[in-house]
């Protein structure tokens, strides 16, 4: 049952991810990206991390992608027909970087035979680890310094955004 779900999710994820980069219409791309995030949430649930799955949907599918949609609709981009001709130097570089990254991942996977994403089944201990309680304890006891630093960083980013957006009074 779980391996069947895993294969189904994988197929949908890969298909939607392919659709994200091949669609000419930016709105369609965004909607496929939302589907990809949904599948990720599905994987998290299968790994026993329900809390992470919910956060994934709230933050990515519910907030960030709505913002993306907001911006695309404001710019009112229709089909990107004007993107044609030979790829420029940057795009060539991007293709090389992508192939290189794929090779690195492939080498890593082939080097570690024991690595696989095993479904957790009904192991209650693993499920407890995915709960908000466990995550909260880990964040505020073992990783409190990185957590606080990340918080300060975000605050700085928010202040920076406000400073940039604020118009100077003449």
């Amino acid at each position: 049952m779980q391996s069947f779900m895993f294969i189904l999710l994988t197929i949908v994820t890969l298909f939607s991810a392919l659709m994200v980069v091949t669609r000419k219409n930016p709105v369609a791309s965004i909607l496929y990206l939302v589907l990809v995030f949904f599948c990720f949430a599905g994987f998290y649930v299968m790994l026993g991390a329900q809390f992470l799955a919910a956060i994934q949907i709230i933050v990515y599918a519910g907030a960030i992608m709505v913002l993306f949609l907001f911006v695309v609709m404001l710019l009112n981009l229709r089909d990107m027909d004007n993107v044609e001709g030979k790829p420029n130097a940057w795009q060539n570089l991007g293709i090389f970087a992508g192939i290189g990254m794929g090779l690195v991942i492939l080498a890593y996977l082939s080097g570690s035979p024991g690595m696989s994403i095993a479904p957790v089944g009904n192991n209650p201990e693993v499920y407890a680890m995915g709960s908000a309680k466990y995550l909260g304890k880990a964040l505020f006891m073992d990783f409190v310094l990185p957590f606080e630093i990340a918080g300060v960083l975000l605050l700085a980013a928010v202040v920076g955004a406000v400073a940039l957006a604020k118009k100077k009074r003449a």
Partner: protein, 351 residues
């Protein structure tokens, strides 16, 4: 194995039953809204179809199906069709975690009157209601109409802004309850009436109520379909049952938002001053079910009351209220709640 099958059958019946009840309430909410609007404006409201107009929802349904189904020429056909379905679906999914009642014993089985009591219930609701925006935004965009697009853009801005305020109100509530399971939250509010969260979290309740109005795009926050500036907003180009589904989705959202407010702040299905029995019979289950709906219908009346009393906000006022008032207030509420909890705990008082 038989236990699994019995479980599946039980859950299917419960889910189907709730679906029918919710849809019935939603259908009659449309009639109730028009009746209430009528009384507010000193007229009768619909009274032609059956006595007191009780057949009006059926007449409306037939009418929706009989109208011409029109798709604009330059619209994005697929997204145009998906959008209303998505709106309705996202609203309906919330149903899965709302506790409609306590347990009841029937045929020797203890049946939980809730489709799924998951341990991240509140987060699930936040996640699903965040998705509700897509239906409206996509519908507005796919129509290929300036007014629809304006409605869609307003929706995305409005929902993102008020979702933050709603989340902050919920965080304060979670600090107190220490759980995200909606059933446990209801159990903790049972007993005396002052256990209700509305008395222990008055600021959070106000924030949540205002955000719930905005999330459901109800007056005074119905900017996405402000008819005197945007024709019909996101559903300008929609006709027939596609428009009907948008309307139906909106009322479903309002019904379940009322149910959620009741669950979080008014003790859900619990009956004040009545303890939860060890071995519930059928009667107890039905009583809690009725208690839940009685409270929810009252809350829905508040939604309609506000709609026919207050004028609409301007869009900049809406953003001001969301970002400059509700969010700072929400953060203040979290700090206040955490501080009070610390004081109570150090004094050795629980709750």
């Amino acid at each position: 194995m038989t236990e699994t099958i019995a479980f599946l059958i039980e859950k299917s019946i419960v889910a189907a039953g709730f679906f029918v009840v919710v849809l019935g309430v939603v259908a009659y909410a449309t009639l109730g809204e028009r009746k209430i609007a009528g009384y507010f404006q000193d007229r009768h409201g619909p009274n032609r179809a059956g006595p007191w107009g009780i057949l009006q929802p059926i007449a409306d349904g037939v009418k929706f199906f009989a109208k011409e189904d029109f798709i604009p020429d330059r619209a994005d056909k697929i997204l145009f069709v998906i959008a209303p379905t998505f709106t309705f679906m996202a609203a309906g999914f919330i149903m899965a975690v709302i506790p409609f009642g306590d347990r009841l014993t029937i045929f020797g089985r203890e049946v939980l009157l809730q489709i799924a009591d998951i341990n991240i219930g509140i987060l699930y609701i936040l996640a699903i209601s965040g998705l509700g925006a897509y239906g409206i935004v996509i519908g507005g965009w796919a129509s290929n109409n300036k007014y629809s697009l304006m409605g869609g853009i307003r929706t995305s801005g409005q929902l993102i802004s008020y979702e933050i305020a709603m989340g902050l109100a919920i965080v304060a509530l979670l600090l107190d309850h220490g759980t995200m399971s909606l059933r446990t939250i209801v159990m903790q509010q049972s007993g005396a009436i002052w256990h209700w969260s509305v008395f222990t979290h008055p600021i959070g309740f106000m924030i949540f109520l205002v955000s719930a109005f905005a999330e459901a795009s109800r007056m005074p926050f119905d900017l996405p379909e402000a008819e005197n500036e945007l024709v019909g907003g996101y559903h300008t180009e929609y006709s027939s049952m596609k428009f009907g589904l948008f309307q139906f989705g909106e009322y479903t959202h309002m019904t379940l938002a009322s149910g959620l407010i009741i669950t979080l702040y008014f003790g859900g299905w619990s009956i004040p001053f009545v303890p939860i029995p060890e071995n519930p019979g059928i009667l107890w289950g039905l009583l809690t079910f009725c208690a839940f709906w009685a409270k929810t219908l009252l809350m829905m009346f508040v939604f309609m009351w506000v709609r026919w009393t207050l004028p609409r906000f301007r869009y900049d006022q809406l953003m001001n209220l969301g970002w400059k008032k509700l969010i700072p207030l929400g953060i203040f509420n979290i700090v206040l709640t955490a501080g009070l909890l610390l004081v109570f705990q150090s004094m050795g008082l629980t709750n």
